[in-house]
Amino acid sequence: MRRILNYFLMRVLLTIPMLFVLLTLVFVVLRVMPGDPVSAMLGGHAPEYVIQQKKAELGLNKPIFEQYIDYLGQLAHGDLGNSMIFVERVSHPIAQRLPATIELTLFGLIVTLGIGIPLGVRASRKRRTAQDFGIRFYANIVYCIPVFWMGLILQMVFGVLLPIFPIAGRVGARIISSDFDRTGFYVLDTLMKGNFADLGDVLMHLVLPAFTLGITLSGVFVRLTRANMLDVLKSDYVLASRARGVPERRVVYKHALKNALIPIVTMLGLQFSALLAGAILTETTFSWPGMGRLLLERIYLRDYPTVQGVIIVYALFVSVVSLIVDIVYAIIDPRVQL
């Protein structure tokens, strides 16, 4: 227990330098570049003294270094600060948008793995057959398809030509999401309320974005699964279990796949960045009210604290996922101790 606690502590400490570096980078670049929140906020009529007064209120007239120290001090208290454009805590829009992004990436991940792993297993079992070549071709093509184009094509086919799925947003226009919104995870919220009609609607809205994100990343996992499965299928314990009369399905899925999953899980941690990046583009294509859109909107407005807050939350998200990956790794592999 103590060791696990120490491990957690170590991991958290390790993310601090990463946050620090990213934050500094963004902080400096934001302020060096032209444009500032006061200009974005005020219309053309504001006289110069009002602009100066606003800047003073926001602390923008101080030297950058001083602003930076102030901000770090604030962060040290776990405070992301206030938006410079809207009168609101930075944590407020983030709390509203983060669940949408998590929901999207999670379902995207499920699709990625749901396509990538079975196809990879299949290719490895049918090695050097037409099926194998077909699957590998799919993997390579899909890897080079831009996420947003994938989204557009799916929208065109399944949203416009065959209007089966909605192509934007998280819920239908007639559904008032604030009726069930508790955690921000709509699938969970509607389930908790037992509101299955709305749940159906929420799931329908998830289909195209999740597949867009999922399909484009599945190529990597097809290739990875195939390569690892080929290695594992050649291993002695697979032969040994076959010799003990273990049925092929069980050999493949219980022994081989479980072993092949170890490098896949590691890869998952690394690919998660790609997933988040893909999520931004998917959010844009499908008007998904997630963190990516928040970032874009607020960068345009030069809302420094919110942009910094979003970057921090993204970085934390990545770290948390890599922590989860490590834990999953330890659960799968008895040789690894946290």
Partner: protein, 516 residues
């Protein structure tokens, strides 16, 4: 037999009830966004629209017209100098939080706007010197000077709207209703806001305490769309009942042909124009401004970029407004390469060393079509071989800073009026102080005098004469070059009626109703 009949009747009744329920909610889609939920700070069409529906001004507009009518005030009087307006308030009204509506709340709200100095506060501070409470139901506005259009200011601008002092904080703006005391927006309008979720949805329910006739539709859900394409599809599929602002030109063309929809086309006072920085840049020279202005081909722009859904504009004063005259057409023409060539060669520019400048646009602030506008303008201007344009773009925050800092020699702007008066289309760009605010930095003593004269005059014919004169001089100075005037489109399902939007562009939701 009888039993069966009653069952059928019951089923029918249930069906009707179901329909009735469905018909009591209207879903309104828009690509606009709510900025800040504070009348002292909000300065955009859509947020103002919401305030027009959840709150009221002392005066209002008759729906669908620009006729000023009484609202929270039953009547008003003006002193003969035109500098003091006295409003007599309706009795017995209360805000949705229960606070009674009195002259004190009016004074409190106006004082708050003046004190907080929000973006739209100039609409008050530039005209109002002081607000006095005469008695609980009488309030007097003392103005800086005679302001002939003061009633339109009071009617159309939410900064003049009364707020509940028990809900809004006196010392700062609020962004989300959740920050209000009680956590909800309150007002005196036909609707009250029951749910607010930024960029996703706003739910408005009929306000039982409203003094006027209750709205036909009990609940309005405003649904926010990130892009027009999605909104268009939602409308076609019947997911929304009404779509207002802003659809893409191609979507408008398609929707107009859709037999399941009603189209409402409104001549909008929204204008687009090219601005020049007149004090430091190369465009100090008004001949260069004229040359570029002459090259703009308005019909081509409205056809190519807006598929014929915008109207070429040849004056800064929009078509349909009193005193509008088309001066640019005669003076500079459309795509007048000859004139431009003549001016430029006179100034010594040749094919080998053409006149080169940067033309700026901002890619999202005025909608997605802006890139195309940039593309088309570049091509039109470069039809004159003596010019070379580099098109540049910057997001609004940067854009604004850059024009304030005189960093952009030529740039595109758009204009929604702050008040319906030619003054807001002319003085706002040409009068020395206002001009600097838009980055034009134009200054002309003669023009300034004309504007001052117009602003203080109470005689409409005298004002009209001045505006005509200014418009006639405009192409010669070409500090800005009008390009086109927008049309606004509202599309509704066939069963929605009552869309009434007049020149002040106020959309009264309580006029909407469902028909069979």
């Amino acid at each position: 037999m009888k039993r069966r009949f009653s069952l059928l009747a019951l089923a029918f009744a249930l069906l009707c009830a179901g329909t009735a329920w469905a018909q009591s909610t209207l879903v309104y889609g828009t690509t606009d966004k709510v900025t800040v939920m504070d009348p002292a700070s909000a300065y955009d069409q859509h947020t103002w629209d919401i305030f027009q529906n959840i709150d009221k001004g002392l005066l209002g507009y008759e729906p669908g017209t620009d006729k000023v009518v009484p609202a929270l005030a039953e009547r008003y009087t003006v002193n003969k100098e035109g500098t003091e307006y006295t409003f007599y308030l309706r009795h017995g009204l209360k805000f949705t939080d229960g606070t009674p509506f009195t002259a004190d709340t009016v004074k409190w709200s106006i004082d708050r706007v003046m004190r907080l100095k929000g973006d739209p506060s100039w609409l008050v501070t530039q005209f109002v010197k002081e607000v006095q409470v005469v008695d609980p139901y009488t309030v007097k506005f003392i103005l800086m000077g005679p302001t002939p259009f003061f009633p339109t200011l009071v009617a159309g601008n939410p900064p003049y709207f009364p707020l509940s002092p028990n809900v809004y904080p006196a010392d700062h703006f609020i962004t989300n209703p959740s920050e209000l005391k009680g956590g909800a927006l309150v007002g005196l309008g036909p609707y009250k806001c029951t749910s607010f979720k930024r960029d996703e949805e706003v739910v408005l329910d009929a306000n039982p305490d409203y003094y006027g006739p209750p709205p036909h539709i009990k609940r309005i859900i405003i649904r926010y769309f990130d892009d027009a394409t999605t909104m268009r599809l939602a409308l076609e599929r019947g997911e929304i009942d009404l779509a207002y602002k802003t659809l893409n030109p191609s979507d408008i063309s398609d929707l107009q042909k859709n037999p399941k929809l009603n189209t409402f086309k409104i001549a909008s006072p929204f204008i687009r124009f090219l601005c020049f920085e007149c004090s430091q840049s190369v465009f100090q020279n008004k001949e260069l401004r004229q040359a570029i202005g002459a090259l703009i081909n308005r019909p081509e722009i409205t056809q190519k970029v807006y598929l014929g859904q915008a109207i070429p504009l040849y004056s800064m004063v929009p078509i349909g407004m009193a005193g509008h005259t088309d001066n640019f057409k005669a003076a500079l023409g459309d795509g007048n390469v000859k004139l431009a060539e003549k001016i430029l060669s006179k100034l010594g520019y040749t094919r080998e060393s053409p006149f080169a400048f940067d033309l700026w646009y901002t890619p999202t602030h005025y909608g997605d079509t802006e890139v195309n506008l940039g593309d088309v303008l570049k091509q039109e201007i470069e039809r004159c071989p003596l010019v070379k344009v580099t098109v540049k773009s910057a997001e609004w925050a940067t854009y604004k800073q850059q024009f304030n800092n005189k960093q952009m020699p030529a740039y595109l702007l758009g204009w929604y009026p702050d008040y319906i008066d030619p003054d807001d289309y002319t003085a706002a760009f040409a009068q020395t102080a206002a001009s600097a605010g838009e980055g034009i930095f134009f200054s002309n003593k003669k023009w300034d005098d004309l504007f001052t004269q117009e602003q203080q005059s109470l005689v409409p014919s005298e004002r009209a004469k001045i505006f005509k004169e200014v418009q006639a001089m405009w192409p010669g100075e070409s500090l800005t070059v009008p390009i086109f005037q927008g049309n606004l489109f509202i599309f509704t399902r066939k069963n929605v009626e009552g869309v009434k939007i007049g020149p002040p562009l106020i959309f009264n939701y309580d006029q909407l109703r469902f028909v069979k």
